[in-house]
Assembly symmetry: D2
Homo-oligomer: 371 residues x 4
């Protein structure tokens, strides 16, 4: 059984999720390569050592460059904030190592494009971490649409709205400052996931008009009220290359919405609906049935659906958030094994970044933007 | 007990609904005036006579002008296609009779404004027929927002989408032709209801950008395929005078959506959600509860909620479509009794028409339009 | 157009509902007979006169015997408490007048049987008022089962649970005393509706075992705490003549359940589910579909479904509680016109009473009871 | 960091689930002991070796007695059919090793009691595998009830119904034969999970009456149609020691129900509802709120809820089936570390077996059975 020794940079939220996935993916799927948790890097040697002990990594370091360069590390996972991605990816390219990078790829499309070109020229396996689209239900949505089961797509209503900054008493942070985050707020934090879903399920976006807002002008800062610099919420109208239209909402202040990643996709012969808060169901409507027997059908995920059976369960047993990461990891292992990029590649991540950037321009200039 | 003798013009879908409401409103509510189904007019004397017999009207006529002028008719209900409204309303004004007119008021804002000015100058009670907003749940939504229970409104996602023209084999009709319908398709048919809801619940709209589409370019016509002239679907971004933003979708081709009149309204301290397909529930989220006990609450309508108890029922017994019309009729009787216009007045209808018109301009010129 | 002059006894909750239905049924349905609200009787002449004025009845009386005997009254509706039914029905029989009696028919099966035999021997049209089963969705459920669409029924889980006496601070009343109500509490108040549904949808019950409980032993009475004499809640196991089995719950203290009239019926080839709190939907499962496309389908009621189109609406517009009574009234008018009993007849009501009585015996003796 | 070397017997459905959980539990939770996948046993050495390689176990064997006796194996997980449990547990006791055994513990209460007494006399950590009750939502239900938040429990409606044998064309198997399965069919397969939930959430059961049925009398066997020997479905009425009553359904032929493990629990001050098919939500009703704001609230699981935060996620990200097993494994590691049994202990499993046995007696003799 072939092994691949993984190096992980970052020990936050996503670092833990990747660790859990690395440790169980080999039992869940029949992967050709079995991952080894070889080395973890955080900003300090002490922190890295502690996380290595707690999570079960063989070695640790406070120097991510050392991790990437280590001869006993075969592939890299980057789970750090966006501003650090570019240097790390270029180091991976220099070291000739396959790389999985968390979203968003870069802080702007120019950065992302540099990364895309670097990995493509080097011929390295690469992948960007969009996990939500990995659920069996969203994979089934892709199958349903691709097979023509709902006809030609004509309309999409999508959103990724949460309420993690709903309370104005929550302090300003790197997320709310342009200097440390990006010019985009919720537009960078949550919108990329649902933009990615739209691209995956419907196809390229040809034009858009966006509107964004800062809802809470200030939040508590270290020296008193601090002005918030990027959007709390917004929405856009979309036109797709295939003629479909749609709307898309994003928010970090949407009271009551916890994982409000939903899409409703209408076609000429049917429709489907998905809500990440009930991630084990896909709602499907078939317009060809007799009128008295037409209605949305709640399909609970089960063994016949994509990537479900490997989790070893009957219909309705259910997968969760960490299982999405396990599926992602399986795909990254395939990328490493084959040497080829696997969807979503860095280029797919770049396409998402282009939409986010166009939305920023559109909101600023209050006009439609062609892509 | 005072009586008011009603004259109804139109014996279609809405004519029947108004008849049913007129006959039961007096038993449901303690109205000061009891309506009498005095005279019905349709385009032919025979048709009118037949409907009078079937539905229980005292008299009938094939001439709507005779009905309006009849000395034994006290108040008028207009339930005919939009192109006929202006002349009828002006005749009511000439006769000095209170008038309830179905939506949309006019075929364009200029027409609507003429009607508004006519009834206002004459000091006549007037009302326009937006029924969906009459449900106890939508009235409760209004109460909740007006009382500040969810704080300041910051975002709205709304839609009125149906699928009555989803099938491209359905023939062209007056609805799909500009000459007989209006330049707006679904934008005139369904969008006014949900625009009205946004105005009622959130307040005036200050600017918008809209996008519309003809999904099926042709439909069967009397002489073969006929080009469709107005929109099948569309969506808009909204900015409200109070600073809230939102998106709004409308469609006559949304497969699977039967009464897809929904709104999700987010405030700084909570949120609410309503879906007309389950019209006896309002979902309410209170952000002030402790974190472990926060969640959307499904409020089933009951005696403490607006206009519910008169229907004589316990919680959850449920009202339906015709009950909305009964509530509307109660309000029209109040208008007639007091001599004052009652919300939604012709002017409220005109405000809706202005939004529809701005959306047409915005879609045509691909730009934001201020109101 | 033939008229039928109705006499109504009772001006409570159901009296109002019947009044509303009588006034609109003629416009909703193409009935052969049009009802006239001729005379209303309550316990006092003053009260009757007041209700007649408020609701629109031509005449009134404080003497129900006078109403039944009145030569200008053609058919009788009884909407009074159960203890009054027997005498009124026998008077109707003596007068040879068709009669619609509210449920439960009698206070015990012996009383009910006397009424059944009286109307049957007299050959009078008769009907008992079970309204919930009249919804388009429950009628559709009947169609689906009768057509074999879900195969042979094998199991039923049903309930009628509400919370109108959930609060122990609510006072004792006629409902909680055997002398004024019946030996059965919730078992008589709510269970008959869902027992009737089981009989209608699945067929005769051959045996049962029941368990009942008084949850709040006392409630405030006129002279301090008063002992409660009949059941607050209970449940039973059922065996049907066709071999199916099931369970059935009933309660007046089920916190949070407002109109908890639900049934889930499983067959050898599918299943269906209905919840009165969302009365415009029927959930249907077809086991013959391919495994990856099996799921409960939410059918929103619309024009192809039973008794929906007459309410003049598109799919999803929705009917409510009062519309159930309108449908019931249409059937009673048919009964009067034809001279024949219409389902549910007095005999059907008697069959429900027999089940309730068997449940009392079973609970008292803690054993299965055969029917 | 202390290690515990695990020996696993069984490589079926649950064997895989335990493997996945063992590999990730250490990263998910801060466990005092970190498990090592030391040895796996199946019925053949070849099969065991293959599973060891595929799933990542250090060693393997075709002899479960050798596994239990192995000096480098510290604790045992039994994931084999019920008929094998007794001998394995007694071997664990002989070897003095902590043991986690899948449910049902024994084939009848007598067997289970032997195991209980053996581990208790030996003072060994022991646990039985009821996974569904481990979800954050079901743990929250336990908290809510235990804290008195819904008052005293008065009624329970529960079920565990699935449709894995719904199709009569599915062949007879060990499950449908008494000689290889047990006298109980669905009553042994699925009912124990929901019986366990009732015991956990409401308390001891004092009496019951049950009814069971074989729906499909025969299924294809190796030599033609074979008679089915145990129940396909059934239901029972329950009385609890604390005075509450309830009903409970179980089925393996409930068309459309995939993971129909639901409970609705009503108290004197509120109610709650859970459905395993949407396992990340608990519905809660608080009767103390003002009447116009009473309704079931959908609580999406999140960091404040039991055992959620360790999975490293925000509200609504969701846990799945395998996460239940991870939680179970965390508890088993605690048991091993402390040397004490952890809920649910073998004795808890025995209590479930007693209920199942009483239900068999009740169904056979058609009478209530006291416990």
């Amino acid at each position: 059984m072939a092994l691949v020794r993984i190096g992980l940079i970052g020990a936050g939220y996503m670092g833990k999720a990747h660790t859990i996935a690395l440790q169980s993916v080999g039992a869940v799927f029949e992967t050709g390569l079995k991952p080894v948790c070889e080395m973890i890097a955080t900003s300090t040697a002490e922190g890295a050592a502690e996380h290595a002990a707690r999570w079960g990594w063989n070695r640790s370091t406070g120097d991510w460059r050392a991790l990437i360069a280590d001869p006993h590390v075969d592939a890299i996972i980057i789970a750090t904030p966006p501003r650090t991605h570019l240097a790390m990816v270029l180091a991976c390219v220099a070291a000739g190592k396959p790389v999985l990078c968390e979203k968003p790829l870069g802080c702007d499309p120019a950065e992302s494009l540099r990364m895309v070109e670097a990995v493509e020229q080097a011929g390295l396996a690469n992948m960007v971490g969009f996990n939500y689209i990995r659920t069996p239900a969203s994979q089934l949505a892709k199958q349903v649409i691709a097979s023509g089961e709902i006809g030609d797509v004509i309309q999409v209503t999508a959103e990724h709205v949460e309420d993690y900054l709903h309370d104005p008493a929550l302090p300003a942070s790197w997320r709310t400052r342009i200097s440390t985050g990006t010019e985009a707020g919720a537009l960078a934090d949550v919108a990329p996931h649902i933009v990615n879903a739209c691209l995956r399920l419907v196809g390229p976006i040809s034009s858009l008009v966006a509107d964004t807002q800062i809802v809470h002008a200030t939040r508590p800062g270290p020296d008193g009220p601090e002005a918030i610099e990027n959007d709390d919420q917004g929405q856009m109208l979309l036109r797709f290359a295939n003629g479909a239209s749609g709307s898309l909402s994003f928010s970090r202040v949407a009271a009551g919405r916890k994982m409000g990643y939903t899409y409703r996709i209408t076609g000429t012969q049917g429709a489907l609906y998905f809500d990440q808060e009930d991630q084990n169901a896909l709602w499907l409507y078939d317009a060809a049935r007799e009128p008295a027997r037409r209605g949305f059908q709640k399909l609970l995920m089960g063994p016949p659906h994509p990537d479900y059976l490997a989790f070893n369960m009957g219909f309705g047993h259910g997968t969760g958030y960490n299982d999405q990461i396990v599926i992602e990891m399986r795909d990254f292992l395939r990328a490493v094994e084959s040497g080829n990029a696997v969807w979503p590649t860095f280029r797919d991540g770049y396409e998402v970044d282009r939409i986010v950037d166009a939305a920023l321009v559109s909101a600023r200039e209050r006009r439609w933007v062609d892509l």
